[in-house]
């Protein structure tokens, strides 16, 4: 497997504020990589640097084996980019835009274009400025998929869309995901969870983790243990036990480095014998919230 995207200590500073802080990231070919984080975490900044829309203050990034600072012109025949903030030429009609785009891409697939138009129910004769936000996103995605890009980059593609449009977009994306690598940013975690193969978590410009979904869901567990009697929590608790809470004899926390052997023995070391221990898998949203609250508390 080769890395389609790789960043090395990627940093972007606006005066003294670091929007991105030494981010090391690797996205393997064929992955559906979701970059998640709160608003202002640096997701869009990272994508804009990768797309050479803005320049990094420090560090390097490679996209499809090319230094991101050299991404321009022909490089975009292999990259489909869609952003919620893009200014689409609204004076054009839907059909005219697709016609116009077609000649830019040697690999444009007319049959696929027609299929996407049908799937997304795009009105070819309507002016873009008359389209709803959801329709505009579908049009942008159709334009980004119809030429079989090697890399699809989506910046907050689902923001503010109704569930039906979101499903349509995800469906359209997944049908083509097999032939492409998808890199997207979002804070819509429920949707991401259903199709992302990898996830990276950005917090205040720092990449706190970046791994595949399977290992992430294995690594994070909500632990609930029942002690013989209530009492204060032992101190110090391991740093990977996030947001510990007690309620009478019950203790709950999120273990961010769950291990079938190590976690029970650590519980026994700190609490002694416990009546009951339950380990529950966490949704991506729950993991995200645990991480976010931990950093807020910090």
């Amino acid at each position: 497997m080769t890395a389609v995207i790789r960043t090395d200590a990627l940093t972007k500073k606006y005066r003294r504020v670091a929007a991105l802080d030494h981010v090391n990231l690797e996205v393997q070919e064929g992955a559906v990589y979701a970059l998640v984080g709160q608003n202002g975490a640096g997701k869009t900044t990272a994508i804009k640097i990768l797309m050479n829309l803005i320049s990094a203050s420090q560090g390097t990034a490679q996209v499809l084996g090319t230094d991101s600072r050299k991404i321009r012109g022909k490089s975009y025949t292999q990259i489909g980019y869609v952003s919620e903030n893009q200014e689409i030429p609204e004076w054009m009609k839907v059909g005219a835009l697709l016609d116009y785009l077609r000649d830019f891409y040697p690999t444009w697939d007319l049959a696929l274009e027609q299929s996407l138009v049908k799937q997304f129910d795009l009105p070819l004769d309507r002016k873009i400025k008359a389209l709803s936000r959801g329709m505009k996103m579908k049009l942008a995605l159709a334009g980004a998929l119809a030429f079989h890009p090697r890399l699809i980059v989506l910046d907050e593609p689902f923001g503010g869309l109704d569930p039906l449009v979101r499903d349509q977009l995800i469906e359209g994306l997944l049908e083509r995901a097999a032939e492409s690598t998808v890199f997207l940013s979002s804070h819509d975690l429920a949707e991401i969870e259903s199709f992302a193969s990898h996830v990276g978590y950005l917090e205040s410009g720092k990449l706190l983790f970046s791994e595949d979904m399977a290992s992430l869901s294995t690594r994070f567990r909500e632990v609930e243990l029942t002690r013989d009697s209530d009492g204060p929590l032992p101190s110090p608790l391991p740093s990977n036990w996030l947001r510990p809470k007690t309620s009478a004899a019950i203790v709950r926390f999120v273990d961010s480095r769950f291990d079938e052997q190590k976690t029970p023995s650590e519980i026994q070391r700190l609490f002694g014998t416990v009546k009951d221990v339950q380990y529950r898998a966490l949704s991506l949203r729950a993991i995200f919230l645990a991480m976010a609250r931990k950093s807020e508390e910090a």
């Binding site: 804009k48 797309m51 829309l53 803005i54 321009r72 012109g73 022909k74 490089s75 975009y76 025949t77 990259i79 980019y81 952003s83 903030n85 893009q86 200014e87 689409i88 030429p89 004076w91 054009m92 116009y100 785009l101 000649d103 830019f104 891409y105």
Partner: protein, 524 residues
């Protein structure tokens, strides 16, 4: 090439209403240019009044609309910001730039070029000998209008940003011009040739280089800094280059006896009976000192031009003071006797010195021109064609003037008319009688290495024989029949090409004079 055409077709489709307006304006412009002397016949011709009225505005309106169209087309793929849709599409920057230039070429330049061909043809000027100049004129238009519009559009996101930027640049230009007036000889334009070429290179290099860089890299602030840097360097050069020194080198000093014209300064007191207080004098920020002179000794068939003047003052109490060289362009012909030169000083300095007796040292830089290839031009009735002048006629509304049309440039000329040799009679109703003194007309010789960025290939100019009475008969009563120079069919004009014979500098002294006497005298 495919991508260039593809983008061009998209732009043409998008901007078809503006293209139609541009074509309509060009049609009106053509109609106006085809009738250059229509205004003078406004009340006698059958032309619709609208066309005459619109004629005054049609050229600036067309030029402004072209600039607007270029800005719209370039900002269609804005080069500012990071949210534009097109920047993540496979546009090659040079194709995008070429597509925008192709738009200007096909939809503005080529139609204008055809209009120019039509105008030359309609006025009967040959096309082939003028073709290269016509093409160079088009190129000049790129530098003066099209590329600057493209440059501004490439640095701004929308029209309001552009207007703001243009206003800032204009303010900066005005500031520099104002600054130049505060520096002695600051408004002189005579830098050494190498400096002038360097400044031109900087200016035109940035008009071409900055948009190219901006298209290639889309780094607005770097591009804007480069542009402002160039303007600053150019201004700095203008300030630090010793223009006065260059000028003084070009005009070597001579004794008054060897001067091409004997010039003496009249004491202001001599001008009795013409001292009126100027009611507006205190309202203007600058004060004009008027130096009356007497002239003699200009050789026949020559003309001496007072190009520039410098006044230096000293008084026992104050140190020397001067505002450097100031342009004059005052013509001294063999028949001239009385003339007046003017010199601008700031009101603050004037108020400080006006009542003090001062010794004025007045330096004049003179150019002597002599007639070359002199010949007699008979004035015909109606339109007539002359190889040097082009197509001419006597102005029906001002009989002392000839209106002429010529491709591209006004020819340099020295013209002399002696009304006593060819008496013409004025209109009985107009209360004018023929002037009896010899009169002259003048146009600077051409030294064009590159054509001007003209919007029309036809130079519409006038050869005006200034009546001598204007200067000498100021006391004439209004009821009296005024003297006027009248050209009529059968008159003959001596026409010559001006040849620069020599340039010299002379010094004159005006002792013990108050500045206020120079202001009050001869102000009208």
């Amino acid at each position: 090439m495919n991508q260039i055409l593809h983008i061009f077709k998209k732009d043409a489709r998008r901007h078809w209403p503006e293209i139609l307006i541009s074509v309509a304006l060009l049609a009106l412009f053509t109609r106006h240019e085809l009738h250059p002397w229509q205004n003078t016949n406004a009340f006698s011709s059958l032309s619709p009044y609208f066309f005459i009225l619109a004629g005054h505005y049609i050229t600036p309106a067309t030029i402004l609309f072209w600039a607007f169209l270029i800005i719209r087309v370039v900002q269609g793929e804005s080069l500012v910001g990071d949210r534009q849709w097109w920047v993540t599409k496979p546009y090659e920057w040079w194709n995008l730039l070429a597509a925008k230039l192709l738009f200007i070429l096909i939809l503005i330049s080529v139609p204008l070029f055809h209009v120019h061909l039509l105008l030359l043809h309609q006025f009967g000027f040959p096309i082939l000998p003028n073709l290269s100049t016509l093409l160079l004129t088009q190129l000049a238009l790129y530098f003066v209008l099209f590329l600057p519009a493209l440059l501004l559009a490439s640095l701004t996101k929308n029209f309001s940003q552009l207007l703001l930027t243009a206003a800032c640049i204009l303010l900066m230009g005005a500031g520099i011009a104002w600054l130049a007036t505060k520096i002695p000889s600051g408004d002189m334009e005579s830098p050494p040739a190498i400096v002038e070429h360097f400044q031109e290179f900087l200016l035109w290099g940035s008009v071409v280089g900055v948009p190219v860089w901006q298209f290639a890299r889309r780094r607005r602030w770097v591009s804007a800094a480069a542009l402002l840097g160039m303007l600053a360097v150019n201004s700095l050069i203008s300030v630090i280059v010793p223009n006065a020194k260059t000028m003084e080198r070009d005009y070597p000093p001579v004794e008054a006896q060897t001067s091409p014209a004997r010039i003496a300064i009249r004491q202001p007191a001599e001008l009795t009976g013409r001292r009126n207080a100027n009611p507006w004098a205190d309202a203007v920020p600058d004060v004009y000192l008027h130096v009356p002179i007497t002239v003699s000794g200009v050789a026949p068939r020559t003309m001496v031009m007072v190009d520039v003047m410098k006044i230096t003052t000293d008084s026992p109490q104050d140190s020397r003071w001067s505002h450097g060289w100031k342009y004059q362009h005052v013509e001294l012909w063999p028949e001239d006797q009385l003339k007046s030169l003017s010199y601008e000083v700031t009101r603050k300095e004037y108020e400080k010195l006006k009542t003090k007796p001062l010794n004025l040292h007045i330096e004049l830089a003179l150019s002597e021109y002599q007639e070359g290839d002199a010949r007699v031009l008979p004035v015909s009735a109606g339109r007539f064609v002359d190889e040097t002048l082009g197509i001419c006629r006597v102005d029906p509304l001002q009989s002392s003037s000839m209106q002429c049309l010529k491709p591209f440039h006004t020819p340099g000329l020295m013209a002399t008319f002696d009304p006593q040799e060819f008496p013409c009679h004025g209109d009985e109703k107009s209360h004018t009688i023929q002037e009896d003194a010899v009169s002259h007309a003048w146009a600077f010789p051409n030294h064009y290495s590159f054509p001007d960025a003209n919007y029309t290939p036809i130079a519409d100019y006038a050869i005006w024989f200034r009546p001598v009475s204007l200067l000498t008969d100021l006391d004439a009563k209004p009821q009296q029949r005024t003297k006027s120079l009248i050209l009529c069919p059968g008159s003959e004009i001596r026409l010559a090409r001006p040849e620069l014979k020599r340039q010299v500098r002379i010094v004159l002294d005006l002792p013990n004079v108050r500045l206020q006497d120079l202001v009050e005298s001869d102000w009208q």
